[in-house]
Symmetry: C2
């Protein structure tokens, strides 16, 4: 471990990540295998993510609801493709009562066995479509635009805090539509909301595209996704949006009476992002000192450190710190204007406003050096140092977490400067991440080169290569190189990407280049 | 059923309640026994409740976190009193994998049996105190002021939407303190937050007090509660706050190094309210037409109904409706000033602000009469009717949900009038509920009178009577009358309530009158 208390990225990216998450107080492992405790600092990030996304969902016409956690086992047998393809590593409830074991403890009451086992939701399509059957009679009941914030259980073998845990938090949108086109529009629109959120809030650029048949959601006609690249050059699937066609409507017998008086099956979409987003942004931006967090989702945007060796001095610096804090708290900060970015969801073009989140650190037993390290670890975006000498010159020293330079600013201009720097940091993190993505995207045309680039343990960036479109080839490539098709991009990354070529492995015809990467 | 589509209260209060909840689109039963689906309109109420409470929790220094849903069975054996007293109707996870059954369905994989069963949290003291052991070393780590918003599973036999369901949503605060007094202050302070929320937001007056030994939380030293009375004169326990003493710290070995260098066990509190609050406010305020909702937690505070038989007329009324809607949306409504109320949490004295929630109903296929009934059922606080004749006189008709009188208001004054009426309605609902509570509180001194008042099926209000303080007497009273001790009030409801007397049943000495009622 480095002197800051966490492993360096060059030593071990995996250990660096876990050290950072644990030491910064974001999350920790729990006594329950594969489950995490999301600690207050990490949960505060999730709350900001929720607020941002929830506002976007509501601005696009969605409402929230809540469906049962426990789903009858038989529901999972109804949609054949869903059964076949869906991971079956689910938690199963079989009993509903404990009893005293006569020795001061409890035991499961064998008498209280359920007739039909209940499955803890690994996703909620089945229970929701069973419910929609009662909600939908005619075209006037459509569309249904519902979202749910919920906990999800998938029994994972290899877990990693935030990225893959047995229990995690997510949102799942489940919409019902009269026509294929409307459902298609919804699936694409929500992917665009996710892209906007990833880029605009998390400062993480993403590829958008469609999943291959092998990688799509079981039960979907097709799956759209956003794919991010993080510092170890691995990809992370950060969000998905599925066009489910009429599959679930047919499985759960959900029909509507059309304007023309015909009974028709309903079209569906579902879409979700999870606490995985937190892992993504940590891996995208942070450094060996700890968390670097985009201001929009930073629980503490500004930490002010008033300093002084004696009580009289502290009285003055504390006063100035509190004064600056209250100035900052009065500022409605909404982040940089990103209106030059092109998104298909114009209703979201107005950034959401909030007050600047500021904390004054008055711990007296800790040294300034300790506090500097502590706030670097925890990812406060800006550090403001306020010592007696600064106060004499009516100034303070401002340090941006991602830059590290000390800038002296007069106190009268400090709040305006800080607000500007938060804007700048939000934009700069995105620009830096985008540059890294560009540097780590490669165009490869031979199998030798392809195999070579994916040699070794680490990630290798996005590799744009031709593929013959078959599941078989996809499987062989993944087996040989551990690289998978992350998506078939909507837009060519480079001119010609959408033109035909020959498959990197088989030499058979290929319609376009697709994005390969090793993924989390 | 009445012509409005729901059973009247006089016919059957229980059927009226269920009809209202289902028909107003608040919640519905699910295919999973005892579990409900919270529908969008009901969930919107929960979101407003969450926002209000969460802001109060944060203003009193709390932060949110997230602990695992699944708790190892052995954890429940650690706190003896907790084991003994806690309801054991819990969902038990025994397996972690499904497999294809070879016939197109799925079955539980018998190979995938857990070594130790996992219990879905019926409450989280055990898992949280197991975690706190790692968070707490010295007095500098205290206090810990953490809250969690979560789903809870308790296998209930008799369920009623919102009031008692197998799965429900709640928040649970879990705090850790260095001293008994600090924990005691916290437990009382959070009860005061609940009282304020119930009265100020839900417009439901509550009794506050301490639970008898028989009714307290298993594992607590003592339990405080807020108790509401609803229209059928039954009581509802609307929130509890527990002083847990050192019980969980001892069970999970959580000690801290004091300033004096001594290892001491940590003191604890826990406190919670749930989706039960929604049931409480429905039963407190609503009528035979449907939901009456206090403006602070009403998803739709104002519904505007522009009317017109032809397109040209509608173009004009729709325009005026949209204009009024945008005026209202610009108003930062924070509700009436209730600063004359006395609460022990002065930091919450500033009511929270939000925009007026307004909806313009442009459904053209439905008649005005249908729409009036529909919005009465769904509990829009104010209905604004805007027809061509109203427009000619530049006015509109405003109808308050709880009053029903039609008031003509000029359009130029409409938004100010509406904002005022929302204030008035919030206050009037509270006043009416308080008057009903007063009318239905009785002072009884003989067993004959006590038995008589609780005869029959229905509720009978709060009965203030003397009790000898023993569990035995409490049990006999409850068996004979179905009435239970709701609380031992902090403050005498009437002069002399806190003076000694003789027990209503046994004639033995009693310290003070306690509040009896039949409860949900």
């Amino acid at each position: 471990m480095s002197k800051e208390g966490i492993t360096s990225r060059s030593e071990s990216f995996a250990d660096w990540y876990t050290d950072l998450v644990v030491r910064a107080g974001l999350a920790d492992y729990s006594p329950v295998r594969g489950c995490m405790v999301i600690k207050p600092h990490g949960y505060a990030m999730w709350e900001l993510i929720q607020q941002g996304l929830d506002t976007m969902f509501k601005e696009t016409g969605h409402v929230n609801a809540c469906f049962p956690l426990m789903i009858p086992k038989s529901f999972f047998s109804k949609e054949a493709q869903h059964v076949e393809g869906f991971a079956k590593e689910c938690a199963v409830v079989t009993h509903y009562r404990l009893k005293n074991d006569g020795e001061g403890g409890v035991t499961v009451d064998p008498e209280a066995k359920l007739e039909e086992e209940l499955i803890l939701r690994p996703t909620s399509e089945t229970i929701i479509w069973d419910t929609y059957r009662n909600w939908i009679q005619s075209y006037r009941d459509l569309p249904i635009l519902v979202n749910q914030w919920a906990n999800i259980i998938r029994w994972e073998r290899r877990t990693r805090l935030f990225l893959r845990t047995t229990e995690f938090l997510w949102q799942e949108g489940h919409t019902a539509h009269a026509t294929y086109d409307e459902a298609e529009h919804e699936a694409r629109r929500m992917l665009e909301v996710y892209r906007r959120f990833a880029e605009d809030w998390l400062a993480v650029p993403v590829l958008t595209g469609v999943k291959s048949e092998g990688e799509k959601f079981a039960g979907a006609d097709h799956t759209y996704c956003i794919e991010a690249l993080v510092q170890d050059k691995r990809a992370i699937q950060a969000g998905t949006s599925h066009h489910l066609g009429q599959n679930f409507a047919k499985a759960f017998d959900v029909k509507y009476l059309s304007k023309e008086g015909q009974l028709e099956y309903v079209y569906a979409t579902s879409w979700g992002v999870s606490t995985r987003l937190i892992g993504t942004l940590i891996m995208a931006h942070s450094d060996d000192k700890g968390l670097i967090c985009p201001p929009r989702v930073a629980p503490i945007q500004v930490v002010i450190l008033p300093m002084g060796r004696d009580e009289e001095t502290r009285a003055r610096t504390y006063g100035a710190a509190d004064q600056l804090a209250s100035e900052l708290k009065a500022i409605a900060w909404s982040g940089p204007d990103l209106s030059e970015l092109e998104y298909d969801v114009p209703e979201l073009m107005h950034p959401l406003g909030s007050r600047i989140r500021v904390h004054v650190d008055k711990r007296e037993k800790e040294s300034p050096g300790f506090k500097f390290n502590d706030w670097e670890l925890k990812g406060a975006c800006l550090r403001v140092e306020l010592g007696p000498r600064d106060l004499e010159s009516s100034s303070c020293v401002v340090v941006r977490r991602d830059r590290g330079e000390k800038v002296t600013v007069s106190l009268s201009e400090a709040s305006a400067y800080i607000s500007e720097q938060l804007n700048a940091m939000q934009g700069d993190l995105y620009t830096a991440a985008l540059a890294r993505q560009h540097e780590n995207t490669f165009w490869v045309d031979t199998w030798d080169e392809f195999e070579k680039i994916f040699e070794g343990e680490g990630g290798a960036g996005f590799v744009m290569a031709h593929w013959d479109g078959t599941q078989e080839t996809e499987d062989i490539i993944s087996e040989k190189t551990k690289a998978t098709i992350r998506c078939i991009p909507f837009e060519p990354l480079r001119e010609g990407d959408d033109q035909p070529g020959t498959c990197i492995l088989t030499g058979k015809p290929s319609k376009q280049r697709v994005a390969f990467a090793k993924a989390y």
